[in-house]
């Protein structure tokens, strides 16, 4: 069985045969589930499928309706706000914490555990706890008021204008620990000589980070980006657990629109149209980048 790979020039199909066989689960997943499922979804988004998929084509009707639905527009807007802030804050906070942790501190293990433990908890749990802390009747607002500041108002989950930030607070709590770990790992991977050289040249520390270290951590940033960004696009459970999309429809997100219309409204066509829009957006951003990033020859 072994050793064949080394034997001269086998024909094209048999080349790396074992590798191909071993990759069958991956190929099936990629082709049947992700690609097949996506095409299936896109295909049925042109039908008026209700509870069950059916082949009555209605052209672009589902898309017209989608883009005239106020809830969808709000969902998109929320995702944009949430996405941008989540990305920025995750990276900044994660990196700052990692940089602090990298200062040869004591109790590093303790701090790391503290920052990382929320990641072990599900979004349902995260949402529940933060809903409880941000509840104006029990949580932070009532505590501050009982300290004498009676006009203090902090009720992000009940204020349509800022509710998405209430969700952001919980999301950052849950996710930044992992980002910190990734960044810390990246910092630890930097050659000590670089620091020495920077110091010899008299470059201030912050400048060393920004100009030298961060560019060297490209791979870490990419892995982190994939993880954060995929989490952003899929955000659903947290919203459901914290606000159920409320007050009103102020904290709705696209994934929830998809789910609600597919299953609660029993309008698969509409749900598929919404998911197609999500997929297209993702594809436009991700595919070219992913192919450049992962498709080139390996960089060793």
């Amino acid at each position: 069985m072994t050793g064949h790979a080394n034997a001269g020039r086998p024909n094209q199909l048999l080349r790396n045969l074992h590798s191909k066989i071993a990759s069958i689960p991956m190929i099936l997943t990629a082709v049947v589930i992700f690609l097949g499922g996506t095409l299936w979804t896109v295909f049925y988004s042109f039908t008026n499928s209700k509870l069950l998929p059916r082949l009555t084509f209605v052209g672009l009707d589902q898309y017209e309706r989608l883009w005239s639905a106020p809830r969808w527009l709000i969902s998109i807007q929320n995702l944009a706000i949430y996405g941008v802030f989540s990305l920025i804050f995750s990276l900044v906070i994660g990196f700052l914490l990692a940089a602090l942790m990298d200062q040869k501190i004591r109790f590093e293990n303790t701090f790391r555990t503290i920052f990382l433990y929320p990641f072990a908890l599900s979004f349902i749990v995260t949402g529940l706890v933060w809903q409880w802390i941000l509840n104006p009747e029990f949580g932070i607002q009532s505590v501050v008021r009982s300290l004498g500041w009676s006009t203090f108002t902090f009720d992000p989950l009940y204020n349509s204008d800022i509710v998405i930030y209430g969700i952001l607070i919980a999301a950052l709590w849950q996710g930044t620990g992992l980002v910190m770990c990734l960044m810390l790992a990246g910092l630890r991977g930097i050659d000590e000589d670089i620091w020495k050289a920077a110091r010899v040249d008299g470059i201030p520390m912050w400048k060393t980070y920004v100009l030298i270290i961060i560019p060297m951590m490209r791979a870490v940033f990419i892995t982190t980006l994939v993880i954060i960004a995929s989490g952003i696009v899929r955000v659903y459970d947290l919203v459901v657990a914290q606000t159920s999309g409320g007050p009103g429809i102020a904290s709705e997100v696209p994934a929830k629109y998809v789910y609600d219309y597919m299953f609660q409204a029993q309008n698969l066509g509409q749900g598929f149209a919404a998911s197609t829009m999500m997929l297209i957006t993702v594809a436009i951003i991700i595919v070219p980048w992913a192919y450049l990033e992962f498709g080139g020859r390996k960089r060793g």
């Binding site: 071993a22 082709v31 979804t41 998929p53 920052f115 599900s122 529940l128 409880w132 899929r234 992913a290």
Partner: protein, 313 residues
Amino acid sequence: MAEVVSLNNPSVKTGLSTKLAAGPRGKKPRPMFSPRNIMVYGALIFAAAYYLLPLYVMVVTSLKGMPEIRLGNIFSPPLEITFEPWVKAWSSACTGLNCDGLSRGFWNSVRITIPSTVVSIAIASINGYALANWRFKGADLFFTILIVGAFIPYQVMIYPIVIVLREMGLYGSLTGLIIVHTIFGMPILTLLFRNYFTSLPEELFKAARVDGAGFWTIYFKIMLPMSLPIFVVAMILQVTGIWNDFLFGVVFTRPEYYPMTVQLNNIVNSVQGVKEYNVNMAATILTGAVPLIVYFVSGRLFVRGIAAGAVKG
């Protein structure tokens, strides 16, 4: 690049000697209360408070009785500690007619998590290995699709997967659920394993091939023994993800396999009169206990493994 495994060595040595030893970052020996230290520790402690606050609230609330919760504020420690909510959450909270709390789903969660974790890691590690060392034509395309797949909301895929599982005759079975977890764990895990195996010295691989070792031999004899850290990372990610999963557990199985999160959802969402926040919080901690323990036990390996899997690529 052989330093991968020992990446963390400098940090392992940190400890009491830190303030004396001039670290490789070459700071001058500094007193404990230098302004810089105060800033660093101040910031860390401030951040730690933000991260710990919810856990504190959970624990404190779960130990209070309902009357105290209604009166007091959520940050005050319990006046009278009671374990009633814990007992109730574990063994007697009701959903519909079943009044046996979380205990009902605990073993199901174990039965789901262990095989799903093992299978998904096995497959993803082989994927990563094939992608790193045995590229075949088209492999990059499949991998790109896989990465894009990481961005697809789970909910969108429910329908196609129900159909696929139905056609395979696996709908409602534990096997079906394991397959689903394997599928959705695959993108990120494959990425991590691929990066890890890429970062291993290529000479090792080449030498083995010159010796005539094949695909599986190299995987089992050379790659596996060198890959403990990344396996730990994958294990942690999967245990957390699968243990916390609610949607797949409830959509793709039948009630006798419902995981603990289904009971958690039921306890949290079935309000009988007033919301019993203490029971909710106790249930929350109990459900999160397993992944939390995994984290506390293997947290150190986690960073080391991540360092290896995410840094190089």
